[in-house]
Symmetry: C2
Subunit: 231 residues, 2 copies
């Protein structure tokens, strides 16, 4: 297992594919996962075509295979598929794996608005994810607030901070290099996993702002952080 590899479960969707593109563009080894191995392979092929000859370390596999291929697995599936996908990949998540959840429980997933989120009993999608991973797997929450459109525009930096939540600071730090591999993204330590309640909700707020401002690239920056980050 390559320590510099990342698996993107649901990497054929807009957000997952955009992240996979950016990490592959940065020279990282990316495994795109999909329920269907053929769709995963096709997405990897599409990514290679977009990135050109320099970036060939991107491949596609079925979710289960993808999940066992890297020390970090990003979960980028629609909210309604989150728990089912986690149950299906759980056997492949080795102790020590970090699962980076970027699920946003948009009301749109049950037919409502994409500018609202559902209230979850667990508090947030990330905390819901934490209830469905095997022991020894740590859950982080990150990358919710980056627009898929901004990820896809490879010629421009992504003007967005990435708020990273996890219960252990070491887990948050493990996600940091993956934030910093994307041009324009800045890591912000957002504390414990429960804070994903706010970070997920910010995505719904940004979707509403996108609509009102007739754009699709709204993101956010935290201002006033004189220091590079907590030790």
């Amino acid at each position: 297992m390559d320590e510099r590899s990342i698996a993107v479960i649901g990497g054929t969707g807009d957000q997952g594919f955009g992240l996979a593109l950016r990490w592959a563009a940065a020279g990282r080894h990316v495994i795109i996962g999909s329920r269907d191995a053929a769709r995963a392979a096709a997405a990897a092929e599409e990514a290679r075509a977009l990135l050109g000859p320099g970036a060939h370390r991107i491949e596609g596999r079925a979710n289960l295979e993808a999940a066992r291929s890297a020390p970090l697995a990003v979960l980028a599936v629609p909210f309604t598929a989150q728990v089912g996908t986690l149950k299906s990949i759980a056997p492949a998540l080795a102790a020590g794996t970090i699962l980076v959840d970027l699920t946003v429980p948009l009301e749109a997933s049950v037919g409502g608005s994409a500018a609202r989120i559902l209230g979850l009993w667990a508090g947030s999608a990330a905390e819901q994810a934490a209830a469905h991973v095997p022991q020894g797997v740590e859950v982080a929450a990150a990358f919710h607030n980056i627009s898929a459109g901004a990820l896809r525009r490879l010629e421009a930096p992504v003007e967005c901070d990435v708020l990273v939540c996890a219960n252990r600071v070491e887990t948050r730090h493990a996600v940091r290099p993956w934030v910093e591999a994307i041009p324009g993204c800045r890591y912000v330590d957002a504390g414990a996993l429960e804070n994903a309640r706010v970070v997920e909700a910010i995505t719904a707020l940004l979707i509403g702002i996108n609509r009102r401002y007739k754009t699709h690239t709204a993101g956010l920056r935290i201002t006033g952080l004189e220091r590079p980050g907590p030790a």
Copy 2:
């Protein structure tokens, strides 16, 4: 009633006083309200001393008097005092008044953490406020995310966007000049009042970030808004 006046109910607290200072520094007529008229007068006196001879259009009154003195009344009291204060000033709020709520229901108000918020049955403190104003009074939510420390440092601009929520776009627009009167602040149309659920929660997130980054001036900017704003 001067259309360019603003009343700051709870203007002796950190956030309210900081806003009053900034608006007075911009030459606006500011009425600081307090339960105790003498404390309000003392705060106005302190503001005049800080601002120097140029800014004398700041005065102090009891909350009820303050509330009837301006077409915009900012509610800047601690969460536990919000409903009580609203009940006490309700008789003074004329139809057409805009109440700008900046209450954040921090868990700290019941002995918990300032980096967490309470769940409110109304959805947000702003929606709770809307249930306690007389008919004909519109509620907006704004100014939650600006740190009191940044407001107080008059020599520096406030590096923070102000997310303004209200059910009518006209209400949001009425708040806009008050955002733009503060150097460094930018108005962002954050949609309906229910979105204050997210905006209030962002304050708790910023308080946690302040702690981890050992600062007290964390704020936020929305990126990717190419246009000046919705029509």
